[in-house]
Amino acid sequence: MSFARQVLVVALKDLRAELRTKEAINASFAFALVVLLLFSFAFDPEAETTREISGGLLWIVFAFAGTLVLNRSFARELPNDCLDALVAAPISGAALFLGKAFANFVLVMAMELVSLPVFCIFNNVGTPVSKQLGPILLVMMLGTWGLTVIGTIFSALTVNIRLREVMLPMLTYPILVPALMGAMLITKGLVLGHPLSGDLVTWLKMLMGFDLIYTAVSLVLVETVLVG
């Protein structure tokens, strides 16, 4: 079976399993909405300053709620020792990783696409966001891919250890600092009405570079993590 097909089979399996139980996705949606609500209490939605920081706040919501999905990624293989069956199957570790990463990407993007309109309503940034929807979606996808890649490989790294739910965010967020920073700054600029050019484009390139580098590193190291 070709590599692409292996990736697809794994991704569809994860998505089907998740959509049937909806455990992670529901928790993720709920968490995102609660955090958005809490931000509205902390920051006055009417103030001009809120509009300025809103781009950054959005990514905090995405990162935290996204981790709930990413945690499940390899953890869902633990009951019944399903991970054994996947590792024993004649698919490469890279295909397994990429399939899971794609499934996670879809799920986290779904959470983000639901959170975005809510965010716009709560913070009165609907108009500026809709004007820049294309670039904002682009940043969301690039930033989410970075979050997903690191989250998925670290999900594999932490699958068997104590306090997994705590360890995953603690390991992932420091690594993600450059990506989250870039995504926050670009989104902030876009929401403020700046076009996607100049400085913002440089951040975009950095984000793409981050995604490429860590996807490559993960693909190389995943077999070591799974088999040792």
């Binding site: 079976m1 399993a17 069956a85 590792v87 024993a88 199957a89 004649p90």
Partner: protein, 233 residues
Amino acid sequence: MTAVAIEGVWKFYGDYPALRDVQLTAEPGSCLALIGRNGAGKTTLLRTVAGFSRPGRGKIKIFGTDPRETATRSKMGFIGHGISVYDELSALENLTLFGQLYSLPDPRKSAMEWLERTGLERVRNGLVREFSRGMRQRLAVARAFLHEPSLLLLDEPFTALDDRAIAVLQRLLREALAAGKTIVMSTHQLREALELASHVALLNRGQVAFHGPRTPEMVSDPGYVYARYGETA
């Protein structure tokens, strides 16, 4: 070509050797029963042979190749302590998924076939989490046999099986042996296993204490091997 060749294998947990210089072979068409006390290293050995982890020293060859090679993995079937099927999917979905992962020409058809052979065709659309224990175990067996592997690695397969599942497994194993497949099985249920086995190996603290053909004495008195080759008390 030997089906399984374990050459001078050591496995370390930190500095502690769980397997020490293990030398074992299994010829095609044979059934090797791996016996030993708890902690002797049976599970570690089986998992290393199956390719779940690499040996610290030594080599493992399955049909002459490395167990991690993709082509080799398609020829191997493994049943471990868990059933390795997904609770959230149905029996049919599970087997179809594994059929796809093993590149079977018609995954759905193979899945249906094996559901029938393990007596699960009537519950094929039921979610695994609703299954009884015996049904789950039969599904695990179906998953391992689905891709018609040439080598079956089974870790205490008869433990905690109900009677129906034991009967199904024994039938399938006999059919596999008759078809020339190779089986390596670790076990505590000496009677069921020794009936099927052609060879026996005793593991003691990570080392092979005995390896040879199964004799009539072993079947009539399962404690025979322990008494003769294992440690006293």
